[in-house]
Amino acid sequence: MAGTAIEITDVTKRFLTPSGEVFTAIRDVTFTVEPGQFCAVVGPTGCGKSTTLSLVSGLDRPSEGTVAVGGQPVEGITDGVGFMFQADALLPWKTVLQNVALGLVFRKVGKKEALERARDWIRRVGLAGFEDRYPHQLSGGMRKRVAMAAAWITEPRVLLMDEPFGALDVQTKAIMSTELVQLWEASRPSVLFITHDLEEAIALADRVVVMTSSPGAVKQVFDIDIPRPRGSVQEIRFGDRFLELHHEIWATLRDEVERAYARTAVGAAA
């Protein structure tokens, strides 16, 4: 199923902290992901990237502003979304096979068909032979693959990925991002991809959104005009256009990262 647009308009999200104060996580965030577009979001830690994703998925509601997916305002869990969470979110009491099949089971697909398709997806992410393992019996990279298969099996129109490869080593990360791009090119969902790795963002995305330090707002949006197919990060990161874009975006991002760092450092000293 081809992707649909994600429109985030003037969104503010406030939280009530345990001490009863109001904390603004993101403020007046506005950006759009075009149908079928791969959009990366970068920003300093704590700037509200995960918060933004939870608003798009419908797990949380904005305090102000609107989020629309496919022209429909988000109310409740958004239909046709796949989500790869920042932290481990597999069901630990289900095997790899059961975890991957879960989205189909919830959609009332027949058990036989669900398991068959789950097997197929497990093969596609290179985990054939591990169907009956429990998550704790897998490596971190393998768990990410399971999460990827589980998110893709429902053929989402919108894919939300929260630092999906953040904890992986460089090689595994390279292999998995190549796999991700192949999957994405095959069915073209709209992707909202959070990362703290600017090279990864530029290599994968059509659009990079830079967010300011907390409270997060959109600092600048860059369209990445490197033609596809691009090859892996390792291959393209010394290309002229890549370096140019990297230089430009990093200049924007660096200020924010430094500001965020200074704030936490002062906070810790105080």
Partner: protein, 265 residues
């Protein structure tokens, strides 16, 4: 069996011999009065007598069966209700807050009083014993199921929701399995409490059962009889706990093994 396990078993056997032998010696030498503290050989003879000649209330297996039946029914009833109510309240904050003081009040009532009420209300059949056992089991399982249902991992829960889980799907695939770790941990002690409920119920008024035998032995100044029944009860609890442990291992196979459990290969 490797060397370590045989050492452990050897030490256990030695300790058992020491305890039982010491007891026998102390009572036959007259250091302690076997009239109050019973005597291993006397207990053994009494058990033999029970099985051979039956008891004043019918055959001995019948007494065991009665008590086991009451305990098992109470255990199953208390567990089922405990899980349902615990998970329901764990999922529903409002209901939990409304019911909180009531649960505390009922929980604060001494169980033996409840037993007395049940005997008055339901007579001397098995019903009051089943109910008393069920109440004892209920509170243990309930508090664990309640806690377990509330400690569901946020990420796992959100993942299931985004994957399209309905409310019932969430309960079935996320809340219940997550609470199961807590619930099963509580079942270990729960069966012991079920037996306590059954036996106390029988002491309060019954026509059959091990509790009734204990009461009667006590009335006849027969410490051997009291101890004989006590050991039978302990053996029953151990057997059931073994079965529960097996069940636990099957139901919680998904959990990472602790370092002590994992087998070196």
């Amino acid at each position: 069996m490797n060397r370590r396990t045989s050492q452990v078993w050897g030490a256990r056997a030695a300790l058992a011999v020491l305890i039982i032998g010491g007891w026998q010696l102390a009572t036959s030498a007259g250091w302690v009065d076997k009239f109050f503290y019973a005597q291993p050989s006397g207990i053994w003879n009494r058990l033999w007598d029970y099985f051979e000649n039956g008891t004043e209330f019918g055959s001995y297996p019948q007494q065991i069966q009665t008590t086991m039946q009451e305990a098992l029914y109470g255990f199953l009833l208390g567990t089922a209700v405990g899980i349902v109510v615990g998970v329901a309240l764990g999922l529903n904050r409002f209901l939990a807050q409304v019911l909180d003081p009531f649960i505390k009040v009922v929980n604060a009532i001494p169980r033996i009083v409840l037993g007395a009420i049940f005997v008055v209300a339901f007579g001397v059949g098995i019903t009051p014993k089943v109910l008393l056992a069920a109440v004892l089991v209920f509170f243990i399982v309930f508090f664990n199921a309640f806690q377990g249902a509330r400690e569901v991992d946020r990420n796992v829960l959100n993942n299931a929701k985004v994957l399209g889980a309905s409310r019932w799907d969430v309960i079935r695939h996320v809340t219940l399995p997550s609470a199961m770790t807590w619930i099963i941990a509580s079942l270990h002690s729960a069966f012991g409490f079920a037996i306590v409920g059954a036996v106390v119920g029988e002491v309060l008024g019954a026509q059959h059962g091990l509790g009734l035998l204990i009461k009667s032995a006590q009335g006849n100044f027969d410490p051997d009889g009291v101890f004989a029944n006590m050991f039978v009860i302990a053996a029953l609890v151990l057997v059931v706990e073994f079965v529960i442990e097996r069940l636990e291992r099957r139901l919680l196979a998904w959990r990472p093994k602790t370092q002590a459990e994992s087998v070196l290969v």
